[in-house]
């Protein structure tokens, strides 16, 4: 059953949630919109294109301490970081919610990542259906849709004078404000998006592995980490110790397979030394290794890498090109 909430209802509700939860929501920072824990509901932006960074950072922060090392009289104790509070992420678009669901595969696979698991189970996701798609969006080719409720606890859809509220999970139901009226009207149709031939290419990836295409497209790649850091499904990390004024912590931070030292071992061996090999890793992880390991393609079609790559390596174009390469191969 769908319910209805006016914008004021939603704002009041967020205010209530803020009392007991950390509320992470899209806010404006300079010219950009980004997910952050809010201190007041007034800061929340309701109408926005995909945020600068995805909300994955709540579960896999750019940097976090895994444990701190305490020494007492020569005795060492490791004190793991604790998750202190319940949280709500408000306003995730369906693609970002799917991104989180995809990250569950590696992180919740046993032995599960304790911090990730804690945050994940103590965080409710309130999604916001997209009434408009951006030219870089292609979620419908990647297993989601602008109105996809599958990976959130509650989905809001903007209707006339307010929001249609759909509680998807029990966790979502428990979180709903009391006294919302039933919504009997129609739910507005989602925007249409152009299709990308994902399926054909995913099934041909093994044959494409040694194609010269990778070196060609990698020519212009700068091997920065932008595409990985803005991506809701990239999850590579580095772990090192941080020692400062007697304080010692094991820290983990984001990293990306595009960065030059990523796969270089201490002994000096590197399985991927050319630009093409490195860029191929990115696409093969998303379109081949991850699907073989966890069934799904590790892209949700949010378009952030398309939007932010400084040299326009556009994953949709890469997929289309790969399809052409496959066709040319089977044709000849």
């Amino acid at each position: 059953m769908n319910l209805f909430a006016s914008k004021d209802d939603v704002i009041r509700w967020l205010g209530e949630l803020l009392k007991e939860h950390v509320v992470i929501a899209p806010v404006r920072v300079q010219e950009q919109t980004t997910f952050q824990p809010i201190s007041q509901v007034e800061d929340v932006v309701f109408d926005f294109n995909n945020t600068a960074l995805s909300p994955k950072g709540w579960f896999l922060p750019p940097t976090e301490t895994l444990f701190s090392v305490q020494r007492d009289d020569g005795k060492v104790e490791l004190v793991p970081t604790k998750v202190e509070r319940d949280a709500v992420i408000f306003g995730l678009h369906p693609c970002d919610a799917r991104g989180i669901a995809l990250m569950d595969s590696p992180f919740l696979q046993e032995p599960s990542d304790a911090l990730y698991r804690e945050r994940r189970s103590r965080t409710a996701l309130i999604g916001l259906a997209c009434r408009q798609a951006q030219p870089e969006c292609f979620c419908t080719s990647m297993g989601s849709a602008p109105d996809d409720p599958s990976n959130v606890d509650i989905l809001l859809t903007e209707g006339e004078d307010g929001y249609i509220v759909q509680a998807v999970t029990e966790k979502g139901k428990a979180l709903l404000p009391k006294g919302l009226a039933e919504y009997k009207g129609k739910v507005p149709a989602p925007p249409k998006l152009e299709a990308v031939p994902t399926k054909e290419v995913v099934s041909a990836m093994r044959e494409l592995f040694n194609d010269p295409y990778w070196e060609q497209v990698a020519d212009r790649c700068l091997h920065c980490n932008i595409c990985a850091y803005v991506c809701p499904t990239c999850y590579c990390f580095d772990m090192r110790d941080y020692a400062d004024k007697g304080k010692v912590e094991r820290v983990r931070s984001w990293e990306s397979c595009q960065s030059p030292g990523f796969s270089l071992t201490a002994g000096g061996y590197d399985p991927r030394t050319t630009k093409g090999e490195r860029l191929r890793q990115r696409f093969c992880h998303k379109l081949l290794y991850f699907p073989e390991q966890f069934q799904d393609v590790a892209c949700v079609g949010c378009g952030r890498c398309v939007r932010d790559c400084p040299v326009n390596i556009d994953i949709r174009e890469v997929i289309s090109n790969l399809k052409q390469v496959t066709e040319a191969k089977s044709g000849s």
């Binding site: 700068l222 920065c224 030292g261 556009d314």
Partner: protein
């Protein structure tokens, strides 16, 4: 789009490839948004049909010469980018004989993002005093006539006037957003150390935390490594995904070097930057 200019670039590129003078031509082509542009690596004469040039061709393609060392390559170069060629020649990173420079006179680049093109000229272009490249082998389209504002560094003097505490607060806020994606480094023609200090573990210069203090350290050292070497292409600021105003740092250092040493990077291939009066052999030594 200046059709004639583009034709000249294409003709030149095609001939260079046909005659075998170069192995490849690095230029610009239309991006996937059908509006802005992106680098193109043309290896066959037919690829050259995709070459374009217009006010969205912001990328400094000189950076890519570092990937193509030892190969004969032609590169399309704007006046500002051409200073990077002098920088790299001076620092022994590229060989003049291996590079064929297709210079273009430049009307100025506008602010762009994927699928967005504004009418406003980039700030660096408003004050750019170069109307043709400082070094080239072929000049497509000839020299351009246009008006440029004077570089007054007024924004820098304004910053300088603020208290240390205010400036510190401003920069910590800015660097607090940095995600250490290193795009600013990867795009910069002056950043080519085989192992950047930011990734060097022994000795450790800056930890892996993506947090204001480390980010601050990262940007402080980055900008100082470019003091007197930054050629002002402003590519670093353009690619920063979180819009950190790196030009304020770079231009502050540029201004100081200009005032102290009467030097501007990349104008003359013979004159070494003031903090870099080392020899090529020493550069190699440092890189080890």
């Amino acid at each position: 789009m200046d059709k004639e200019l583009i034709q000249q670039i294409r003709d030149k590129a095609r001939n260079l490839l046909k005659e075998g003078t170069v192995e490849g031509v690095i230029g610009y082509e239309r991006a996937s948004d059908d509006l802005t542009s992106r680098p193109l690596f043309a290896y066959s004469p037919s690829d050259t049909e995709r070459l374009i040039f217009d006010e969205t061709c912001a990328h400094n393609l000189v950076k890519y010469l570092l990937d193509k060392k030892g190969k004969k390559i032609a590169v399309v170069v704007k006046p500002c980018d051409s200073r990077a060629i002098n920088l790299l020649l001076n620092e022994g990173q590229i060989e003049r004989d291996n590079v064929f420079i297709i210079g273009v006179g430049c009307p100025g680049m506008v602010e762009t993002n994927w699928n967005h093109k504004s009418e406003t000229l980039q700030a660096k272009c408003r004050t750019c005093q170069l109307f043709k490249p400082v070094v080239y082998d072929f000049l497509a389209g000839g020299e351009i006539e246009r008006q440029a504002e004077e570089e007054t560094y007024s924004d820098i003097t304004e910053e300088e006037a603020k208290s240390v505490a205010t400036r510190r607060e401003f920069w910590l806020e800015q660097f607090g957003r940095c995600i250490r994606c290193y795009a600013c480094r990867q795009v910069c023609p002056g950043c080519y150390c085989p192992v950047c200090f930011a990734e060097r573990l022994d000795p450790l210069w800056v930890g892996i935390r993506i947090a204001p203090e480390e980010n601050d350290m990262w940007q402080t050292i980055r900008s100082f490594h470019l003091a007197g070497r930054c050629i002002g292409c402003n590519e670093c600021e353009r690619v920063c995904p979180v819009d950190i105003p790196l030009s304020l740092l770079n231009r502050k250092l540029e201004k100081d070097v200009k005032e102290l040493f009467a030097f501007q990077a990349g104008l003359d291939p013979e004159e070494a930057p003031p903090f870099a009066t080392f020899k090529k052999e020493e550069v190699m030594e440092f890189e080890k």
